[in-house]
Amino acid sequence: MSLRGLSLRFWVAATLVAFVFLVALVGPLIVSTNPDATVGGLYEEPQCCGALILGADNEGQSVISNLVYGTRTSLIVGIIAGLIGTAIGLLVGLVAGYRGGWVDDVLSAIVNVGLAIPVIVIVILVSVSLPQRNLYTLALVIGFTGWFWVARAVRAQSSSIRTREHIDVAKLSGAGFWSILRRDVLPYLLSYVVMAGILQISSAILFESTLSMLGLGASGTTSLGTMLYWAIQWGSVRTGAWWAFIPPTLMLTLIVFSFLLLQSSLNEVFNPRLRRGRAARKKAAKEGTELETPIEGDDAGPVGSGGFLETPVSAGQDR
């Protein structure tokens, strides 16, 4: 994949994502204030230029500090949950699609039920029941409940790959089940898995913030969602303490938006037919517009799910 294929959109997205990671990783080093330390009064206004640059929250803690640590927390949960979800979905999808038979039937039934029941419901029920809520349990819960759509998409693709000739060759040469999956099926799915992974992470981050806003967040750690929870609880909106809720909101929006933008720009790289404009059409013509059917996770993906990427829409994948 040459650099030529990466559009302006990709670079913008990549820059934004890099920025987010920078804030999360390097931020806490720059902002040396402890997020739990009291540095000011209740909803004290922002003043230049130290810990109170974004003011103080309802406990008198530094907003900028919480923002930075909160981003880190949200990203950690998002990435862990996202990776778990993608991994499970990939595994289940691969096995179901490639194996076929009763294994496929059972797994597909589970996946379909999982897809039909709104995930948020399960997550709420489980979170409410947990005796203790911390970052990692939260990430686990989100990860273990969000993999269904990945499984379905991967299954569809791996079952079509199963019929390709190179699989027969591999089988004839005596390769084992797992070996074939790893070396002959997986590489075809890689581009999809990357995009699915990005969506999973961004979806997980949103889930975490939703849970936190509902009061089901990790206790003890600040995340962007918990910042908003407290902001709502203490009526910062009414009192006009914008610094309590605007920064986390903007940060969350930035994170989600940049991830989605990244995914959509990568999608155009993998599916030239979706491109537009002269440059795009020329490229598609040159490549002969011969490409696999648009796979799930294309722009029809995080559709209307601003809040939740429950399941990207398939472009005819069900057929």
């Binding site: 490229k283 013509a285 040159k286």
Partner: protein, 289 residues
């Protein structure tokens, strides 16, 4: 038998990132009334491109830089920003696309397409009239009328191809440009389709056919004349007999000799392949019989 279509000086170029590819390099060709003209060549020779230009469907990234089409005394400019009247498509020159499988929208029945085609050219026609004409055409050519009520996925490959052939000629076009119509079919279906095409010609449903294909043996039975294209130019053109048995251009000779025929005469003969681009073949002067 006079000239049905006179295509002159056609130049078709694909504008792609980096460089422009000349697919059809100043080609002129005449199609006679009542004939099937085979347009043969390897992939990339420009035959499909020429076919799409003549059937008036060329669009970016394919640009027709210049060329004219003359039918029934009317001259249509093809090059540059020429406006091609919508009504010419389907009614004067019609296309039979490659892969009838996808040429009909999967969510609508065949009769919808038929009605849409007919009323696009005659806004006053009623649905019943349109379908009646279609039924008549279908039965004349030996297809069951219930095909109209079917969805594309309910028809077999051969049936679909024949149905689409009929739809392409519903408006009795003067010229039908068929792009690889037999390539996706089994041998029996191929034969049936070719017979149908010839029958339609006989019945004057259309007055001429350009049969684009890479499948030379098929042309032997289907075409009256064969034009061989190589790298965007017509290198040889002549009656089928001569083209198959006594071709004069070196490329045609190479092409014909690369055809595998399960006949005793070919036993123990070595089939030679061809290199990708042979300058000598390209430079040899064209032969028009």
């Amino acid at each position: 038998m006079g000239t049905l279509v006179n295509a002159e000086n056609i130049r078709g170029v694909y504008y792609t990132e980096g460089k422009d590819v000349v697919a059809v390099n100043d080609v002129s060709i005449k199609i006679e009334e009542g004939e099937v003209l085979g347009l043969a060549g390897e992939s990339g020779s420009g035959k499909t491109t020429l076919g799409s230009i003549i059937s008036l469907i060329a669009r970016p990234p394919l640009h027709v830089e210049h060329g004219t089409l003359e039918i029934d005394g009317q001259v249509q400019e093809l090059g540059g920003h020429a406006k091609i009247p919508r009504t010419w498509r389907g009614a004067v020159v019609s296309m039979l696309p490659q892969g009838a499988m996808n040429s009909v929208s999967p969510t609508k029945r065949i009769r919808h397409l038929v009605y849409d085609v007919m009323r696009s050219h005659d806004s006053k026609i009623s649905k019943d009239e349109a379908l009646d004409r279609a039924r008549e055409r279908l039965t004349t050519l030996g297809l069951p009328a219930r095909v109209l009520d079917a969805y594309p996925h309910q028809l077999s490959g051969g049936m679909k191809q024949r149905t689409v052939t009929i739809i392409s000629t519903l408006l009795n076009p003067r010229l039908l440009v068929a792009d690889e119509p037999t390539s996706a079919l089994d041998v029996t279906s191929q034969k049936i389709l070719i017979e149908m095409l010839l029958e339609m010609l006989e019945k004057r449903i259309m007055s001429g056919v350009i049969f684009v294909t890479h499948d030379l043996p098929v042309l032997r039975t289907a075409a009256n004349r064969i034009a061989v294209m190589y790298e965007g130019r017509i290198v040889e053109l002549g009656p089928t007999e001569i083209m198959v048995e006594r071709p004069e251009h070196p490329y045609t000779q190479a092409l014909m000799s690369s055809v595998l025929a399960p006949e005793p005469a070919y036993a123990n003969t070595r089939i030679e392949g061809m290199s990708t681009f042979d300058r000598s073949l390209f430079d040899a002067p064209a032969v028009i019989h």
